[in-house]
């Protein structure tokens, strides 16, 4: 074959890979942990760095893990709804405060309230990456065995909660 054609052939082969890559839209893509145990981690908690929040805390109950940060506008948006969930004792909400700044995060909670049972402070973002976080906010539904059941990306609200989470939780409770 003509050697001048080689680069063209190489690129033509690469294009479908990219198209397939695009179709696996990350906002719709289930987490790689769906159906698998949540990734192992251990983080100091936001409120008290001497305590830790780790994978072990997620066992024994159905819970949510919310990945948030003060720099994320969507997190501010959904915070009110998370407060509502916490007030009504719907489900324990755990959190990973992702790539954030501690005083700022504490200030955020002072102002808007703390809906979390515990919030791990993930300063360098490693744990968030382990969870496969693409961008905050993201919310994971974890079953009593610590298995990731569902992953939701973007700010939560009442309607989305009823639609995406309530049926799944009901299924788990059966």
């Amino acid at each position: 074959m003509n050697r001048f054609l080689l680069p063209l052939v190489a690129v033509v082969i690469m294009i479908p890979i990219m198209i397939l890559g695009l179709q696996s839209d990350p906002s719709k893509l289930p987490s790689q942990y769906i159906g698998k145990p949540a990734p192992e981690f251990s983080l100091p908690t936001l409120i008290d760095p001497s305590k830790t929040f780790s994978t072990a805390d997620l066992k024994g109950q159905i819970s949510l893990v919310n990945i948030w940060a003060t720099w994320c506008g969507g997190c501010r948006t959904e915070h009110g709804f998370l407060m509502e969930l916490a007030r009504t004792n719907t489900i324990p909400i755990y959190a990973i405060d992702w790539r954030d700044n501690r005083p700022e995060a504490l200030n955020f909670m002072n102002q808007l309230g703390n809906p979390y049972v515990a919030s791990g402070f993930d300063e360098d973002g490693r744990v968030g990456i382990d969870w496969g976080a693409y961008g905050a906010p993201e919310t994971f539904l974890i079953d009593a065995d610590g298995i990731v059941v569902y992953r939701f990306t973007g700010p939560l609200n009442r309607a989305l909660w009823e639609q995406e989470f309530v049926p799944r939780i009901a299924e788990l409770q059966e």
């Binding site: 680069p7 990219m18 990350p26």
Partner: protein, 640 residues
């Protein structure tokens, strides 16, 4: 009103880009002077309207027009003015507009500084750049209009990400983009050469300065990004092999190969089809970088918001540009191929090796970046390839590259006399080996194979780069001096040597230590004592801060007092870490204040970074070399 003017100006710019693309290309094809003369006017017009559009967006930011969605999402009333300006390019839509502005700016510069280029070549280059402008303007107008309204308007904006509120980060993207976009000029020259079938030494002479200028801006942009990550994020690293970093690094590597290949084409008329392929590849990698960053198909900490529509658009555009260019290449390049051979012991051989190694390095980085995508396709789930892989893979082509660099600089075109080689390179070679072993042993008390290799390579490159300028400086009257072009090359290679030295030493001997510290307590890191003398509250113009006064001593000898701060900005309530850095030419002592721990102590991160400045100094010296070489007289011939 202002946003509508901006939007409308962008549409007019698209119309002018269409004129700029179609008429000159047609004119060049038919040899019609009237049509070709449209080129520069359409270019200036397009640039003017894109600039109007950009100014309108900037005004929207400065006037806090939160009825514009993009402004509402990325600014806030209380944001300081300079960051309202830099917020313009802080996210996808605005940075795309900046890309378009820079593309129009580069094109206008080609039209203005055409040197002694023939009309036909100018018309084709501008026409091809016009085609690229059309693509990007359509991308902006159809999928990413920065002037979209938000109804009802927001009362206040969602604010700029606090990490981006930093002077280093405000100027890093523009520099990077000047470089990225600048490679489109080399691309356009390549397409023009293939369209006309004329590719001679003059073509290479016209293409070179544009390529070098794009390259030197990219060099500075990458270095500045690395420096910012170091001092502001306080992670202690300077390169993370993040996909977005790789996206800027791949065009840099390929562009470096292109600069060297262009030298052969200009001086010897060889490597013609190879140069064309590199020019196409360099710009294609810039486009690929844009695609990767903006489509969200790859996991990265600083990827832009993901949007599949945009991903498809940019992929379609990428496919049209790259497949079009490579199809043209497959069709026209065989006719331009240079069949002449060259002697094995010649500068041509070394530049060929340089090209091969740089292309291998680019391929490795590309594979590492795309591997997660390919693994995912094979249903292996999402993976992330980490720095350890890149560090090993990247060194394989880089070590020989750096050693060959010293030989290449002192090898004659056509045929080298081996005896002269030995005479010139004997001293640098001995110096490199001796210093390469002694330097780490003497100053840092430890030595390993990689250290010797790294230090030897660095000293070797520095020494061989200095020979020519030194001889020119010491020359007797009547002998020829060094040309700007050769001096630029020496300086750029010197920069590379400094960079290698910094990278080697800091990787081997850098220390990062996270500790807890109380007032009065002394910690020992790298045989130095760091004592926390006091903590106090201080007030700045727009912030209050907790300042730690840390005294650094080496035994009895006082070294410095540094004052790391944790600042809270009054208006925005943002906390920012201001590291206390004691920089000297051969090491940085870096202290960042963490959080107050429960028992009254504070967490601190203490870093000892020997020779880290050499990384950025090296990069800027490389860029300086580019500037010097571009100032060579032969690039500034005016049209006869």
């Amino acid at each position: 009103m202002i946003p509508e003017i901006g939007h409308f100006a962008l549409i007019l710019a698209l119309a002018l880009a269409a004129c700029q693309a179609i008429l000159p290309l047609l004119g060049a094809h038919r040899n019609d002077t009237a049509l070709m003369s449209v080129a520069s006017y359409a270019t200036y017009g397009q640039f003017l309207f894109v600039a109007i559009s950009f100014v309108c967006l900037t005004i929207a930011f400065l006037s806090d027009d939160f009825s514009v969605l993009y402004v509402a999402n990325h600014s806030q009333l209380a944001l300081p003015t300079q960051y309202k300006i830099s917020a313009v390019w802080s996210a996808h839509e605005g940075s795309l507009l900046m890309w378009i502005l820079l593309l129009a700016g580069w094109t206008a510069a080609v039209a203005k500084f055409r040197s002694d280029m023939p009309d036909q070549l100018v018309a084709r280059v501008i026409g091809v750049l016009g085609l690229l402008s059309i693509g990007f303007l359509l991308f902006a107008l159809l999928t990413s209009n920065p002037f979209d309204r938000l109804i009802p308007a927001a009362l206040d904006g969602g604010d700029l990400n606090p990490l981006l509120q930093d002077p280093g980060l405000a100027i890093h993207p523009p520099l990077l983009y000047v470089g990225y976009v600048g490679f489109s000029v080399a691309f356009a020259f390549a397409i023009a050469a293939m369209l006309s079938g004329d590719l001679d030494e003059n073509w290479a002479r016209w293409t070179r300065p544009w390529t070098v200028v794009a390259w030197l801006f990219l060099t500075m942009g990458i270095a500045l990004g690395s420096w910012w990550a170091y001092y502001e994020l306080g992670w202690g690293g300077w390169w993370f092999w993040d996909p977005v970093e790789n996206a800027s690094f791949m065009p840099w590597l390929m562009g470096t190969a292109l600069i060297h290949s262009l030298a052969v084409t200009e001086r010897r008329g060889l490597f013609k089809s190879w140069t064309l392929l590199l020019a196409i590849s360099t710009f294609s990698l810039s486009l690929l970088g844009t695609f990767l960053v903006r489509s969200g198909i790859i996991v990265s900490v600083h990827a832009f918001a993901t949007d599949p529509t945009r991903g498809f658009f940019i992929l379609a555009f990428l496919a049209v540009v790259v497949i079009g260019a490579l199809a043209l290449y497959a069709w026209r390049a065989p006719a331009l191929d240079s069949t002449a051979g060259f002697n094995a012991a010649s500068r041509e051989t070394f530049l060929l090796l340089n090209n091969v190694l740089l292309v291998v390095a680019t391929t490795l980085v590309l594979l590492g970046t795309l591997a997660p995508l390919i693994v995912e396709m094979l249903n292996g789930g999402k993976i992330s390839i980490g720095p350890p892989w890149f560090e090993v893979a990247f060194l394989i082509p880089m070590i020989p590259l750096v050693f060959l660099m010293g030989f290449g600089m002192h090898t004659a075109w056509r045929k080298q006399n081996e005896g002269v080689w030995f005479k010139v390179l004997k001293i640098p070679a001995i110096a490199a080996i001796v210093i390469g072993v002694i330097l780490p042993l003497l100053f840092y008390g430890r030595v390993s194979l990689m250290l010797v290799v790294g230090c030897t390579a660095a000293v070797w490159v520095v020494a061989t780069a200095l020979i020519q300028p030194y001889r020119s400086w010491r020359r007797k009257d009547g002998t020829a001096g060094i040309t700007r072009s050769a001096l630029g090359m020496s300086i750029a290679h010197l920069g590379m040597g400094l960079f290698v030295l910094g990278a080697t030493i800091v990787s081997a001997f850098g220390i990062e230590s996270d500790r807890a510290m109380r007032i009065g307590e002394t910690l020992e890191v790298a045989d130095l004592q760091f004592q926390l003398r006091e903590l106090r509250e201080v007030a700045g113009p727009n912030y209050t801060a907790i300042e730690a006064v840390v005294e650094i001593r080496d035994g009895a000898e006082f070294i410095a007092t540094v004052r790391p701060q944790k600042r809270q900005y009054l208006v925005q309530k943002n906390w920012m870490t201001e590291a206390g850095i004691h920089p000297t030419w051969n090491k940085d002592l870096f202290i960042a204040l963490g959080d107050q721990l429960g028992d009254g102590s504070w967490s601190v991160r203490i870093q000892y970074k020997p020779m880290i400045r050499f990384l950025w100094i090296g990069a800027f010296v490389m860029a300086l070399g580019g500037m010097v070489s571009v100032s060579d007289r032969r690039y500034r011939k005016s049209k006869k």
